[in-house]
Symmetry: C2
Subunit: 196 residues, 2 copies
């Protein structure tokens, strides 16, 4: 593929497990080329211009296999949304609600799109998968599809969990707000505004 095509894949579809902007892709392709992991071919485009189409090399394939087999230290948790939620006591109930609602909407979307993607994978109906299957021996096709489906199903479950977490968050905010109002009423306290 060309750098442009790669960038589009990352940009357009949310179905990708990784993301990179074109400003990272072009230099990286050059580096990979310098390391002999991919090779470039100048393809004419129109009359004057050319584009660079990259293919993986034998060395690249080996490096890819090495990387897949390599066990890497599990990523340390780093989740801005959860970190923030840890300090929601510093915000108003309204703000906390808005945050949970944003979270909810986002993962509902993700879930829908990944479900659609799994459907396409099962039908072997994506451009990339078809290209992958073309060059792979017949008896590996099931495994190729199955691993990818497993990954995206995992992402779907993860998205469902996030939706559930945000929903519970909203219920929690409701409960806390009711409790606060109850305190004020029964104890006859002045009651703080809920931030501060």
């Amino acid at each position: 593929m060309t750098g442009y095509q790669l960038a589009k894949q990352f940009d357009v579809s949310v179905t990708f497990v990784w993301h990179a902007p074109h400003s990272q892709i072009y230099p990286e392709l050059r580096r990979l080329e310098a390391d002999g992991l991919v090779s470039a071919e100048a393809v004419p485009r129109g009359s004057r211009a050319t584009k660079r189409s990259y293919s993986i090399t034998e060395a690249g394939r080996e490096e890819l296999e090495r990387w897949v087999a390599e066990v890497q230290p599990p990523a340390r948790e780093r989740d801005a949304a959860y970190l923030k939620a840890t300090y929601f006591e510093l915000a108003s109930f309204e703000t906390a609600r808005r945050q949970f609602e944003t979270h909810l909407r986002h993962y509902r979307n993700q879930q829908r799109q990944w479900e659609e993607h799994v459907r396409q994978l099962e039908d072997r109906d994506t451009a990339l998968l078809r290209r992958r299957l073309e060059i792979a021996p017949e008896e590996t096709h099931d495994a190729i599809v199955a691993y990818k489906v497993h990954v995206y199903r995992g992402l779907i479950e993860r998205a469902k969990h996030e939706v559930e977490w945000a929903s519970e968050g909203l219920r929690l905010v409701d409960r806390l707000e009711r409790d606060r109002a109850g305190d004020r009423g029964s104890a006859g306290l002045a009651g703080q505004p809920d931030d501060e």
Copy 2:
């Protein structure tokens, strides 16, 4: 706290939603100080040495509140384990199994430690939480604890999901290996080694 104490908090316990090494903490504290978000006090230590103990300033508290309320673009998925699993067809069944097992072990550990942490939070029995509650008005205590418990419960559920995903992954590898062996047997094919 001092930079050292902060570093320890991140280092020692896995219970933190964020992580940072001391090489990031010390310069960052200096930057925060320069921006007036924290203030430092030189505290003597032994006879000759001093350490710098930091406290949040009023401006820092405002910035923290601003940050908590700010809705930020949801992080794009970037998960090396899932990305790798997408290409497990390039590895042997044995390797795929090893990867899933590593994943499983890691999240089982996380789960256990977060469960322990939730227990401590509910008992209001961590040093940080006690310090937080000391300076917060009584009627906010429930909310402070509840939000934190909600976050760590979310992380526990997430860890459970990852354990489940890895277990299913192992079952998938078993199934694919049986299918491959079946192919070889029934069709009498030479059969590829499962990588390549």
